[in-house]
């Protein structure tokens, strides 16, 4: 194992905090989004964007870059935060989340620099990632790697297993899947709604190497990425099963399916931010604001208001 310095560990945890804080800001401001799956993957994204991925923020199309695909695209705020923190997009772009011409509620690779795959419909990302990995190998770009972050609930989708079979068969060892195993899908616990266990056995039976880690421990995560990159080039793709807590960081949201998709009121959001900043020992910073009406899409407005002003 390659050990991380204390400083690096602090940096990564700090980035995870920033990702959560900015995501909360985005979701509160737009009054739309998925807190649970966004928070659970904060450390995973921090490690990828601050330690693992070969990327060039000033040149998103750098031809030597690694490729990261967020298959569980509903957790895009975390990715947007990471992209903003690394400089792919402007910090203020986060306030355009879910606005005409702004950042997509899920992901749009044509619109956002650094986003390598459009998404929003679950189950698709691993096939696409396998395609990129296959293509890179064909181009003999052996140093470029592909990472795909999957939801655990997403693993119900059969196309994931088609892709797993494909990657296993074609021995795509430049491909790493990470499962954000936060134990919940949208409406409840996975083991109640559609049990996944024995999960590691599934991946193994489809021809993959498997590593299980604590998905909130940046050291364990980085070690796992290091391992699949340098120590286990055994001709197999690798799956990192990252055990996480859905909604991690805010007690009310943890393992609580009600916070899978739901935007907090401004009051609630500020309480969440306070909790986050205590946990991470940070100054809370500015109060969060909301800009949208949100709600049920009342046609009243569009029919009765005569002046339509696009916000």
């Amino acid at each position: 194992m390659k050990h991380l310095t204390k400083k690096k560990i602090d940096e990564l945890n700090d980035m995870a905090y920033q990702i959560r804080r900015m995501s909360l800001d985005m979701i509160t401001y737009s009054q739309w989004g998925h807190i649970g799956g966004t928070f659970s993957q904060a450390e995973i994204l921090a490690c990828l964007y601050d330690h693992v991925l070969r990327i060039a923020p000033d040149n998103p199309q750098w031809e030597d870059r690694d490729c990261f695909v967020l298959s569980k695209a509903h957790a895009s705020p975390a990715l947007y935060a990471a992209l903003a923190l690394k400089g792919f997009i402007d910090y203020d772009d986060i306030y355009t989340y879910c606005r005409i011409g702004g950042l997509e509620g899920h992901l749009d690779m044509l619109e956002t620099p650094g986003v390598e795959c459009s998404g929003g419909s679950l189950g698709l990302g691993l096939s696409y990632s396998a395609g990129v990995a296959y293509g890179l190998r064909l181009k003999e770009a052996f140093h470029r790697r592909v990472y795909c972050l999957l939801g655990d609930g997403e693993l119900c989708e059969g196309q994931i297993w088609e892709a797993a079979m494909f990657a296993g068969h074609h021995k795509l060892d430049n491909l790493t899947a990470v499962v954000d195993y936060n134990k919940l899908m949208a409406k409840g616990f996975i083991n109640e709604l559609m049990a996944l266990e024995p999960l590691a056995d599934k991946w193994k039976a489809f021809g993959w190497n498997v590593i299980e880690v604590d998905g909130h421990d940046v050291e364990e995560l980085c070690n796992a990425f290091h391992k699949v990159k340098y120590l286990e080039s055994t001709g197999k793709p690798a799956c990192i099963i990252a055990h996480t807590v859905k909604g991690r960081g805010v007690e009310e949201c943890e393992f609580n399916y009600k916070w899978h998709t739901h935007a907090p009121s401004v009051v609630k959001a500020n309480a969440f931010l306070h909790e986050l900043s205590c946990t991470y020992d940070k100054a809370k910073g500015n109060d969060l604001k909301s800009a949208a009406n949100g709600g049920e899409g009342d046609l009243n407005y569009i029919i009765e208001e005569h002046e339509y002003e696009v916000r």
């Binding site: 749009d108 679950l122 609930g153 119900c156 989708e157 899908m185 899409g297 029919i303």
Partner: protein, 316 residues
Amino acid sequence: MKFDNESMREVFGKTLVELGEKHDALIVMDADLNTSTRTVLFKKRFPDRFVQCGIAEGNMFGVAGGLSYAGFVPFPVTFAAFASRKALDVIFMNICCPKLNVKIPGCYAGVTAGEGGPSHNSAEDIAIMRSLPHMRVIDPGDNNELRSAMNEMMAYDGPVYFRVPKVIPPLLMEEMQAFRWAKGIVIREGTDVSLIGTGIMTSICVKAAEFLEAEGIHAEVIHMPSIKPIDEDLIVKTAKKTGRIVTVENGSVYGGFGSAVAEVLVEKYPVKLDAVGIKDSTFGSAPIRDLLIHHKLTPKDVAERAKNILHAKNVQ
């Protein structure tokens, strides 16, 4: 127009429970969206007749076929985008071809997934679903009609796709009118131009007609919830009357509702038609209101289009 205070998905969920009380064979299936689609109400009332499928739509529709064969009337429930795009071959082979009695709601239909963006909005569902053999297609206009249509489809033995938008809709009609297959409704009589809406867009047409009236243009407004089969007679009748048609849908006009009306017109009584909807693009990610404005689907836009078609010189 009167306004309702209940969202269509809520009415959908409640009506499922009402129907569940009457029909022992009714089964509701979920692909991990029950609190969003409001099937959670059915789940609580009839836990034994609620089938959890996880996030696997293909399998859900296949299981629905099997349940139907075993004598049940399944409602496999997911968003319209996924119902129309994720499992089409299953719906074709295991539901449409054998004409099985499966009712497929398309939740958050059309533009009403709003912030969900292209992946969650459904612009193509009408075109796709009406191309399938034996599939009937409904886009209800308000809560009463949604409830009525759901009752009506239980009396029909065969596959049905129906849109369930995520909006609080206005009440389209003062008095409740029953949904009937292949029947449109004249909401407002007019002589200059016909606005034919489907689903929640009819309410947009009603308002557009008010704008037009203010300018001295008498628009006829027709509501067409039954897209397949469609009300050919009423289409021909209004075409004869006004000679100018504007269709309005929140979806793609390629193969969609406007196209369905066009098919009838060219066969029976060709007149000019302008199809309002989107063309070769997607509903992006923003609040529904902003999307309607952005894609020019507001009453003012419709009124504008009606005036254009009215003032265009008769080409024939």
